[in-house]
Amino acid sequence: MAVEAPPTPAGTLAPPRRRKIPPAVLLIAPSVVFMALLLGWPVIQGILQAFRDENGFTLDFVTRMVQDPYFWPAVRNTLLLIVVMIPLQFAFAIGMALMLRTNPRLHKVHFFVWAIPLALSDLAAGLVWLAIFNDRGYLNSALSLFGIEGGSWLAYDNQASMFMCVLIAELWRATSLVLIIVVAGLQGIPKDYDEAAQVFGATFWQRLRHVTLPLLKPSLQVALILRTILAFQTFAVAQALTGQNFPLVVGETYRWYTGLQNPNVAAALALVILVVSMLTSIFYLRALRDKNQGGLR
């Protein structure tokens, strides 16, 4: 149905017609509706659940969450895990990616093997490591072969060793995500830059620091944001290995929702994770933004 448009002088836009939806809006409408239903609505629902009871607005649930004896240990454990794990994961992933870049024999096989944990559900990974770390697990059996007496690695009163177990399992499980992003990033950098740096006398570390890592920054940024947000959500591995003995924030959410049957406090906890994740992303995006680089100093 052709709309009779009065001729408009060249270079000016026709006045918007009443009740005619611009095509751009029509085109994005499906995704907007989709996002609103699947993301927006649950978020609003979650906020309402955390801050409202039968009598309207309330901070009761937040108070209960904070006063729970497990809350602060869970926060502390989650942060500790992130602070220790993320740098290690990046060091491993970058090291592995650089090794793969030299095209060693069977490098495709190596890459495939290193990427396997990515395909594993985190609960399955947790169970695998439980089989290793439990009192009669593979680790203790292996140690006993050498005449060393193993320990109760996952004992409820040994926070340090529980932390190490969760850390190792998470390192194993989630480093491959960083690896894949870094490998993809490295492949996007022409080899010439590294070769030019070599010819101009740069050592391996100089090349890494002055050429490879700066050029890899966009990939590292993506990996860092993804990995940190996912690390805030660490749950199944710790749950499988330690149950409630090594509380993490998402584990607490789960406990409040299923164990204590209190969806309101669970929603408050989920909001904490949402807010922290958002703040972290903003921080990374700002901190890693291309500052005015260059200069000789």
């Binding site: 070769e195 030019a196 101009f200 006398g201 000789l296």
Partner: protein, 360 residues
């Protein structure tokens, strides 16, 4: 500064069936400008990269300044290089890029600053020092790559087709600038190109490569005037050298081209009675509308005015030749013209091996 001794370099890439360089030996004197010239895929880049240490040879050796560097990593060779893709670091400003090598060598900051300034002045990069490479034109990025290479007090300067990404006019201007800069520096230079005019105009010596081997090594004028074989003659020069089958008469004094005869160069005395391949450069053929003694008749096929000359494609005894006539020369397709060959500018080659025949 240093000389380069390359001996018997063999390199086959993993998975490759042919040798990328096949037993290449090459001597480069201290301060000499050597051009590696050849068609695409003949192994020029491979040879250069082995000098740089970016590829390792299967066998053979490379010595720079008397020091065997065959298996040394690139950063231990005291080189600098201009890459075909420029490889100017995109995340750093021009100033940092130019000073990169000096920084890596931990040269004091004031000296880096001084040298960067010197190179920037030389290459007219002064106004762009604080820009990122993304904000430069191709020609300027090219200059940054050259500036980065010349600030180093390197033993050897390597360049891989540094002008190939520039437009024709820029290439011509920058070529002479580059020649002057390198002359003033006096650094031993190895320069790779597939452009024969670049090779002739820049090199002290030209190594013409073909299929991983050096087909001819010599002074640019020698390589141009006396190509060692048919390949070199056909590759160098614009238009390339003309080749015709001919026979040497029994007394050795004349060359027989089908029905016609030419005075033979004196070196052919020892080849009396043999079939040879005759090589003639376009500019060594005199073109006339009237017959003069010793001339050969030719039929004009194509007339191409080039401004300073007229390029004629003609046919002589079934062979197609390119010859040059002065811009005032008038002719048209299908007309007959007369060609005069100066005996001492003719080159003769063996028909089977295509190698130049030397007087015995």
């Amino acid at each position: 500064m240093a000389d380069i001794q390359i001996s018997n370099l063999v390199k086959t890439y993993p998975g490759g069936s042919e040798r990328a360089t096949d037993d290449v030996s090459l001597q480069i004197q201290d301060g000499e400008f050597t051009v590696l010239l050849g068609p695409s895929g003949c192994g020029k880049t491979t040879l250069l990269r082995m000098i740089a240490g970016l590829e390792l040879p299967d066998s053979g050796s490379i010595a720079i300044g008397g020091r065997d560097v065959t298996y040394l990593p690139p950063n231990k060779r005291n080189l600098s290089m201009v890459f075909q893709s420029y490889a100017v670091f995109p995340h750093r400003k021009v100033r940092y890029n130019i000073g990169f090598g000096l920084r890596m060598a931990k040269v004091p900051a004031e000296e880096i600053e001084r040298k960067v300034q010197w190179a920037a002045d030389l290459l007219q990069l002064g106004p762009y020092l604080d820009r990122l490479p993304a904000n430069l034109s191709g020609g300027q990025r090219q200059r940054v790559a050259v500036a980065r290479a010349i600030v180093m007090d390197a033993d050897v300067l390597l360049m891989d087709e540094p002008l190939s990404n520039l437009d024709a006019l820029l290439r011509l201007t920058f070529r002479s600038e580059l020649k002057k800069i390198v002359q003033d520096l006096g650094t031993t230079t190895v320069y790779v190109t597939h452009d024969q005019s670049e090779a002739l105009s820049l090199g002290d010596q030209v190594a013409v490569m073909r299929k991983g081997r050096i087909a001819q090594l010599g002074d640019p004028l020698d390589v141009y005037d006396a190509p060692a074989d048919r390949f070199v003659g056909g590759f160098i020069g614009s238009p390339p050298m003309n080749f015709m089958d001919a026979a040497v008469s029994h007394d050795g004094g004349t060359l027989v081209l089908g029905e016609q005869q030419l005075m033979a160069p004196s070196i052919l005395r020892s080849f009396a009675g043999r079939d040879v391949l005759l090589g003639v450069r376009a500019e060594n053929v005199t073109v006339r509308n009237e017959r003069s003694s010793g001339d050969v008749a030719a039929t004009v096929l194509v007339v191409e005015p080039m401004g300073s000359t007229i390029l004629l494609t003609v046919e002589v005894d079934g062979h197609t030749l390119k010859v040059q006539a002065p811009p005032t020369f008038r002719t048209a397709p299908h007309k007959t013209i007369w060609l005069g060959f100066a005996p001492n500018t003719m080159r003769v080659y063996d028909r089977e091996t295509s190698m130049a025949l030397e007087a015995k």
